[in-house]
Structure formats: structure tokens, C-alpha cells
């Protein structure tokens, strides 16, 4: 198992008027070949910023430090044009929602857009690829769907087209942004099936989501983010069986199937995060040490956790 992407000490700040918002604080993470990594976090945890940093999509007011290594090349510090080329050739993105589909382009054009641009795929080949992919996804008449526009397709078909977009052409890693947001159970089911299909066609996959049940089904490893920090990285099975970090534990407890217990307190402000462990104001296990010392991301028995409980 090799590492496809290694993120080292990634910090991202946004410069607003008069203040600095820290969105990511020293994130260390790697995406292994062949795995599905689920990045779990609630809104404001910085998971989307993480995704955007990998794709060099951060807005102008963002200041980043640290490294994002792909085959030893730092994507973050690379010349922008080269970086975009590298990202385009090796990574692909399944965006969130149908809004990212261009309403004025036919479906197949969008599915094959990336290989056509980065691998000199011809138009006919592109069309063929799109039809084949859509067929593999379980669409009964893929030719018709490939020639349709956004508004002519149903929700399920669009979902398939989105995933097809992500896996058309060769890619080392597929990144998926919140694939289940606002979807009902049956659609979620479909997405899970589709992603399983997609997993077989790519090197690795990273899924960003806040949907615990969904990640439980698709991911191999889970990385839990809280307030711009990675607080736990575990195997999925272990995580759902026995979460290590108090936050992970509380998060699982808040699921309807596990008692619907809310986490006390509010998400902390990103402008002035609490000192020490960022979870300490809401933590039921906090000690004096947690108040002013930031716990390290300790590695124990194959999982990593940022809590003094385990140090």
C-alpha cells in the first residue's frame, strides 16, 4: 500500500476584514492506494476547505502553509498552471449536487470532459466512454441519457451521471464532496452502490461527508475532523464499534438510532477557538491539562487520536 497523497501540517487561514479565521490547523492525513477514506465532520469543521486545498480551489483571501504531497511533489507550492495540470490528470472530483452540471451541455460532454481535456481523448471515444459508463451504472438506455440535457434527466440518472463524471478517464484518486446531502434513504442507497462501483475503477477515494451512517457503509477508514483539526483516524469498523475520541463518541450517540443524544454546548467560533484541546468546553472527560495544552495526534494500535486520554 503506497500513499497517493500525503498532507503534512496543512494550515489554512482566511483573512477577513480585521480578523483571521483559522479554518485548518495542522492537518496530517494520507490517502492510501486502494482505500476509501471518509472525512467526517460537521459544518464548520474544515472538511470542505481540506478538499478545496487539494484542488487548489481556495479563494484569494486564503493563506495556507504546510504541504500536500503527490508523488513527492508539493501541490500547494507548485506553480499554479502546473498544479492544475497535475490535478487534472491524476485527481477527479464528484461535486456536490446537480447544480454543478452545466444545463447547456449534453450529458456525455460533461462526463467525458476531463479525459477529453487531459488525455487527448477524441469526441467519438469520449461519447463511447460516457455511454459505456452510464450503462455500467445501470441506466437502461445509456445512449439516450448521454445525449440529454440536465433538465431532461431524473434525479437518479443525474446521480449516476455525476459519479460517471468522477470515474471517466484514469485517475489516481477520486474525491467526493458531500454525496448524500439532502438525499432520502433510497437515493442514499443508490449513491452507495454507485460509489462501490466507482471504487473498483480508481486508485483511491476520499469522501467528505457529515453522514455517519453513509460513511459506515462505504469507507475503509474514517478521519474525524473537529474545528479545523483531525481528532481521530480509525478503521471504519473499529470506529463505529468503539470510537476513541470523546467527540467521535458523542457524535455517534447523537444518531437517532443510538439515542439521539445531543452534544452539549455549541460549535466553537473559528475566529477565536478555545485554547488547548478545541473540544474541551463540550467534553465530558476534560482534565486541567486539556484547558491550555493542545493534545498531539497520538498513534495507538493502528488508530490515531488527539486526546490526552490516550497519551
Amino acid at each position: 500500500m503506497g500513499k497517493i497523497i500525503e498532507i503534512r501540517d496543512l494550515c489554512v487561514d482566511f483573512e477577513m476584514q480585521q480578523m483571521r479565521v483559522s479554518a485548518l490547523n495542522g492537518v496530517n492525513l494520507e490517502l492510501q492506494r486502494g482505500e476509501v477514506l471518509g472525512v467526517l465532520g460537521e459544518s464548520g469543521s474544515g472538511k470542505t476547505v481540506l478538499l478545496n486545498s487539494v484542488f487548489r480551489l481556495l479563494p484569494e483571501n486564503a493563506r495556507s502553509s504546510g504541504e500536500i504531497l503527490y508523488c513527492g511533489n508539493d501541490i500547494l507550492s507548485m506553480d499554479r498552471k502546473r498544479a492544475m495540470q497535475l490535478i487534472g490528470r491524476h485527481f477527479s472530483l464528484i461535486p456536490q449536487g446537480f447544480g454543478s452540471l452545466n444545463p447547456f451541455l449534453k450529458c456525455w460532454l460533461q462526463i467525458s470532459e476531463r479525459p477529453m481535456e487531459h488525455f487527448n481523448m477524441g469526441k467519438e471515444e469520449g461519447y463511447g466512454t460516457a455511454v459505456r459508463l452510464l450503462g455500467d451504472m445501470g441506466i437502461e438506455s445509456p445512449e439516450k441519457a448521454a445525449r440529454s440535457y440536465r433538465h431532461q434527466l431524473s434525479g437518479g440518472m443525474l446521480q449516476r451521471a455525476l459519479v460517471a463524471m468522477g470515474i471517466s478517464g484514469k485517475s489516481e484518486a477520486v474525491f467526493v464532496d458531500e454525496p448524500t446531502k439532502g438525499l432520502d434513504e433510497r437515493k442514499k442507497r443508490l449513491v452507495i452502490d454507485l460509489l462501490q462501483l466507482a471504487k473498483q475503477r480508481t486508485g483511491a477515494m476520499m469522501i467528505v461527508s457529515h453522514d455517519l451512517c453513509f460513511l459506515k457503509e462505504v469507507s475503509d477508514r474514517v478521519c474525524v475532523m473537529y474545528c479545523g483539526e483531525v481528532v481521530e483516524i480509525s478503521k471504519t469498523r473499529d470506529f463505529f464499534a468503539s470510537p476513541k475520541h470523546p467527540y467521535s463518541w458523542a457524535l455517534l450517540e447523537s444518531l437517532p438510532s443510538r439515542g439521539l443524544k445531543p452534544i452539549e454546548g455549541e460549535n466553537p467560533s473559528m475566529v477565536s477557538p478555545p485554547p488547548g484541546c478545541r473540544f474541551n468546553p463540550r467534553c465530558s472527560h476534560r482534565s486541567v491539562r486539556c484547558l491550555d495544552e493542545r493534545p498531539p495526534l497520538a498513534e495507538i494500535d493502528g488508530f490515531k487520536v488527539r486526546c490526552f486520554k490516550y497519551v
Binding site: D184, R189, L255, E264
Partner: protein
């Protein structure tokens, strides 16, 4: 906050089932006019009734018509045919005074909390607005008192009341929307997927606050959701919606432990694939049903009662009666 288990909210179902329906509708059909496609049938004869003090979960996936049904019950849109009644009076025959009473007693909580409040108003004013419209508060002090008490019930502090919607998080917004719905002390709160856009921990918090408030004030809740586990955790009674009609209803414990309709079964087993629903004649689930019969494709099954307050729309149960 004390630890709560879902069962602690359950009131003896028998008592609930005996009481007269508070708000309900009979055979409601709603066809949205469309110049291009010649109309879209969102509701095909749905009947539902909400009883005093219960928490009724309306389960359905997107496109099943649950939001339309919720809005019709809240009096926000007019049904094409069928009848909505509040108490014993049909909505269509209400005078302006009765209608005002209805508006006060039935409150609607929309799906997107970030759009449910006027972005230019302070949260306090938005929450106080129903009081002002219905002239419920005689003085500023009384209004302040009412707004504060209802806000603290959902966990909103004075600090948040002084802000505008854009300065609040999604969870805080949804709380404000809840507070606004509860400020008139309604009899029924219709919540249209109030937590579908929220994070799990926030969802848990909001649901708790809703349930706490319900317990204190005793209003009934129609909780529209597509989240089965959430529905199972909180509801007394469940209606499952499919293709514009209610295919199964009954006490929550019964439905979740022994689902009758094949669709409910497939939902609970998580095996439902993403195939499209049948929009033609016959049962909407016909094309995917494992137990389909000849009758299923010809006509839509009527409601069969399989027990007290338990009904299902499936030809499978037709022979029993």
C-alpha cells in the same frame, strides 16, 4: 440536560387513538398546473389526521408529495379537490375569524432554516411577529416576556435574539424558526423536514428541544421526514407516503416492528434500489414490488384496515376483508 431515551416521550397510544382528530384531510388531490406537461399530480387522494398531543411522523422520499401534503394541512396551498378540516370545520368553509384562529393554532416550520426568516429583520422581531399580527401581546413587556420564554425553551439566548439571520448558524436559525412557530402556543406544529439540512449533533439538539417543548405545551407535531431512524426514535404514529398517497399508517412501534406494505418493508430493510415509481394507473410501487399481482397494475388499491388505527394500501391485504 438530562439523558433522555426515546421511549420516555411515548404516551399510551390507546388514549391517543381514541381522541378525535384535531387537524386532518380527506381524499386530497393536488394537481400542479404546468403549461408544458399539462399538470403534475402531487397528491392522489391522501387522507391523514393528526390527533391532539401526538407526534405523527410522515415518512416519504423526495417526490412522494409529503411536503405538498404538509403545506395543504397548514393551509398554505389549496387542494385541487378533497377537504381539509381543523377541529370539525372544513377549512374551505371557514369565515375570516375562524381562519385567523386556524392560522394561530396551526404553525408551519419550513425545510430550509436559512430562508425561513426575513434576512433584514432581527431574530427577536421575527419571533415576535406572530404575536404582533394576532395582537397577542398588549405591551412591549408582555411581548418581550413571551418571546424570551419561548426562545429559552428552544435554547436561544438574548444574544442571538439581537442578531440577524446571517449571523446565526443553521442550528440556531432552526431554533429561531421553531420559536417563531411556538410563540402563539399552537395546537399543531407541522415541521417539514426541519433537520434534513443539519449536522447530526445539531439535529439531535433541535429534535430534543422540539420534543421538550411539545411535552410542556402539549401541541401535536406532524414531523415530515425521510429519515427512518429519526422517525422511529421520536414518533408515536407513522404514515408512510408513496406516490401522492398514504400507503401505510399505524402506531410507530407496530409499523417499524412489523411493516405490512412491501414498500415500507423495502425501506426498512434498506434494499430499495433507485428505480422510478410508477406514475401511471395502479399501485405506485407496482414496478418494483416483489409481491406484485395482476390487480396491482390495473387499479390503485384502496385503504384496508388491518387493525385498530392501522391501515395499508395494498391488494395483498384485500382478501382478508
Amino acid at each position: 440536560m438530562k439523558q433522555l431515551s426515546p421511549k420516555s416521550y411515548e404516551t399510551p397510544s390507546q388514549r391517543l387513538l381514541d381522541s378525535a382528530p384535531l387537524l386532518g384531510c380527506r381524499d386530497v388531490v393536488k394537481i400542479f398546473k404546468s403549461y408544458l406537461k399539462g399538470g403534475f399530480t402531487a397528491l392522489a387522494g391522501a387522507s391523514i389526521s393528526i390527533r391532539r398531543g401526538e407526534l405523527l411522523a410522515l415518512i416519504g422520499e423526495s417526490g412522494s408529495g409529503k411536503t405538498t401534503l404538509a403545506k395543504i394541512l397548514a393551509g398554505l396551498i389549496q387542494p385541487t379537490s378533497g377537504e381539509v378540516f381543523f377541529g370539525d370545520k372544513p377549512l374551505a368553509k371557514m369565515g375570516s375569524k375562524d381562519l385567523l384562529h386556524f392560522r394561530r393554532k396551526v404553525q408551519f416550520v419550513p425545510q430550509y432554516p436559512d430562508l425561513a426568516l426575513d434576512p433584514t429583520w432581527y431574530i427577536y422581531d421575527s419571533i415576535a411577529e406572530p404575536l404582533r399580527i394576532h395582537k397577542e401581546a398588549r405591551t412591549r413587556e408582555e411581548e418581550l416576556e413571551k418571546v424570551r420564554s419561548v426562545s429559552s425553551r428552544v435554547g436561544l439566548g438574548l444574544d442571538q435574539l439581537r442578531r440577524k439571520p446571517r449571523d446565526l448558524s443553521g442550528g440556531e436559525l432552526q431554533r429561531a424558526v421553531l420559536a417563531k412557530a411556538m410563540v402563539l402556543s399552537p395546537d399543531v406544529v407541522i415541521a417539514d423536514e426541519p433537520t434534513s439540512m443539519l449536522d447530526p449533533s445539531t439535529q439531535a439538539k433541535i429534535v430534543h428541544q422540539l420534543l421538550e417543548a411539545k411535552k410542556e405545551n402539549g401541541f401535536a407535531v406532524l414531523f415530515v421526514t425521510h429519515d427512518l431512524s429519526l422517525a422511529e426514535a421520536i414518533s408515536n404514529r407513522v404514515c408512510v407516503m408513496l406516490g401522492g398517497s398514504i400507503v401505510e399508517s399505524g402506531a410507530a412501534s407496530d409499523v417499524f416492528s412489523s411493516p405490512l406494505h412491501p414498500y415500507t418493508l423495502s425501506l426498512l430493510s434498506g434494499s430499495a434500489s433507485g428505480l422510478e415509481m410508477n406514475r401511471g394507473t395502479g399501485c405506485p410501487f407496482y414496478s418494483q414490488c416483489d409481491a406484485r399481482m395482476g390487480a396491482c397494475s390495473k387499479s390503485s388499491p384502496p385503504e384496508f384496515m388491518t387493525g385498530k388505527a392501522r391501515s395499508v394500501r395494498c391488494w395483498l391485504f384485500g382478501q382478508d376483508y
